[in-house]
């Protein structure tokens, strides 16, 4: 077998790295980090340095002695700071700037982006040129209030972009769609084809989006993806925001709505659950889902209901006994189900015996 010249191959690799250059987002983060450091006073009296030295030594001893993961331990993964990690946290930085939380809970703070993400269960995020993408999972997003004139923070999902000016909301991204529920502030949702919806507190928007979504803006009961999730308010469509939408991002191709009928079946129930979740009424949400399991839904719809129930028992209520019993029944009923991976992660998290 012919041997290749290492020097030539390495030079070729190096030329490729040169073409890769420094990505814009890396440049932006570095400038932010560097010039923030420059703003701090740096020449302190010797005694202060001495004191700091003693503290640093003590901290080093603590770091070397204590286990890696603990509630107060801070570390950085994929350029994000991990805050408030649970003891069982398993987090890793993957390819293309992806950060995956496979197990446990934590808050991921991205200072350059200007906000934080709190995962509710397994989660995958990815840094992209135009913002932070929620690849998979349910995540609560908090964004710092932006200075006047600053560009909005952007959260990317499979069917569009969420522009934020300082607020708190939940994004849920599954393989076949997702939804955003807003608790505070104001956000704008832009679909890849440039349609824009403005969401106010209490609004929820679900995807995949249809071609006709928003066509009857303002009229109650139309096919707009934006819904009021307050139960006391009638279901109505919000008008698109009155501004020119940005051109669509070609990298954001919506996935095929493989289980559109499931989503259509479940919309009212999911909205009700979103309301209860946003109010912290998890037990009530679980009971509602348990009742729904006895309704005459299609099998695929019931599988989804069962999965949602398991998620609430596992991640919100942390009720190991009920959750393990539920996951066991779920697996028996759907042996090669669509949520196998999530079920496995839920069981592993709770230490359910199989």
């Amino acid at each position: 077998m012919a041997r290749h010249d290492f020097g030539a191959a390495l030079r070729e690799a190096d030329r490729a790295l040169e073409r890769f250059g420094m990505p814009d987002e890396v440049d932006r983060r570095l400038q932010h980090r560097l010039f923030e450091t420059l703003g701090r006073p740096r020449r302190w009296p010797t005694l202060v340095w001495l004191g700091l030295g003693v503290c640093a030594t003590a901290a080093l001893v603590v770091v070397l002695v204590r286990p890696e993961s603990g509630p107060a331990h801070l570390r950085s993964v994929g350029g994000m700071t991990v805050v408030d990690p649970s003891a069982d946290l398993r987090i890793s930085a993957g390819e293309n700037g992806e950060v995956e939380v496979a197990q446990g809970d934590c808050t991921l703070v991205d200072r350059a982006w200007g906000g934080s993400f709190r995962g509710l269960g397994p989660l995958t995020l990815r840094r992209e040129r135009t913002g932070l993408r929620v690849v998979r999972g349910v995540v609560e997003v908090r964004v710092q209030k932006r200075a006047a004139g600053s560009p909005p923070a952007r959260v990317l999902i499979s069917d569009g972009t969420i522009e934020v000016l300082g607020t708190r909301f939940t994004v849920s991204q599954r393989a076949d769609g997702g939804q955003v529920a807003l608790y505070e502030g104001l956000i704008e949702f832009t679909s890849p084809d440039g349609r824009v919806w403005r969401l106010e507190p209490g609004d929820m928007l679900a995807w995949p989006l249809d071609e006709g979504d928003g066509a009857g803006a303002g009229a109650p009961g139309t096919d707009s993806p934006v819904r009021r999730i307050r139960p006391e308010a009638p279901l109505r469509v919000l008008p698109p925001a009155g501004r020119h939408a940005p051109p669509p991002d070609p990298s954001l191709e919506p996935p095929a709505p493989s289980v559109a009928e499931v989503e259509a079946d479940l919309q009212p129930l999911l909205q009700q659950i979103a309301v209860l979740r946003s109010r912290g009424l998890y037990e009530q949400a679980a009971r509602t889902l348990e009742q729904a399991l006895h309704e005459s839904y299609a099998p695929a719809t019931l599988e989804r209901v069962s999965f949602e129930l398991g998620s609430i028992l596992t991640y919100h209520l942390g009720d190991a006994e009920r959750a393990c019993t539920h996951w066991r029944a779920h697996r028996a009923r759907y042996p090669a189900g669509r949520y196998d991976r999530e079920v496995h992660l839920g069981e592993t998290r709770l230490g359910c015996s199989r």
């Binding site: 290749h4 290492f6 191959a9 070729e12 250059g21 890396v26 350029g79 890793s92 390819e95 700037g97």
Partner: protein, 175 residues
Amino acid sequence: MANRQRLTLETCYRLHRERVFRLCLRYGGGDASWAEDVTHDVFIKLLEHLPRLERLDDIGGWLYRVTTNLALSRLRQRRSVRMALRRLFSPSEREAQVSTDLLLMQREQAARAMATLRALPPRERVVLCMKVLDGKSQREIADALSMSEGFVSKLVARACAHVRALGWEVSDGEA
């Protein structure tokens, strides 16, 4: 003072960021996150040394030396016993995935060469890069890394032996 320093740092950053980042990418075997962190630390070092730097016209050479030494130090830390144990027992602490692999996917030999580079011990990796990619002499490498010329020669020989053992041809000029 702070303003003058800031201006100098900003100018140096604008002029040299690409080169420093590329050096870090190279030493990190294509790991962009790691390269970002080391690039940051290089410019922090520059900030600390700015008042004492007499010749700003040779800042490129100074940055090359500092980047190379800092990268070497970080690579060795990553291979320390403590870090190795952490990686062994905690999957989340495994070495970061290489973020530029996709870039090299179409270039099979280039991707293989980068993987070979990552398999080398830190000192051999850095010395080989300096020799093969930057065309530095053993004397220049020894000066930049504060090593003896004899030790550099030994590192180059060891690196070439490792590379050959992984199925490559290494030309005489590089050995």
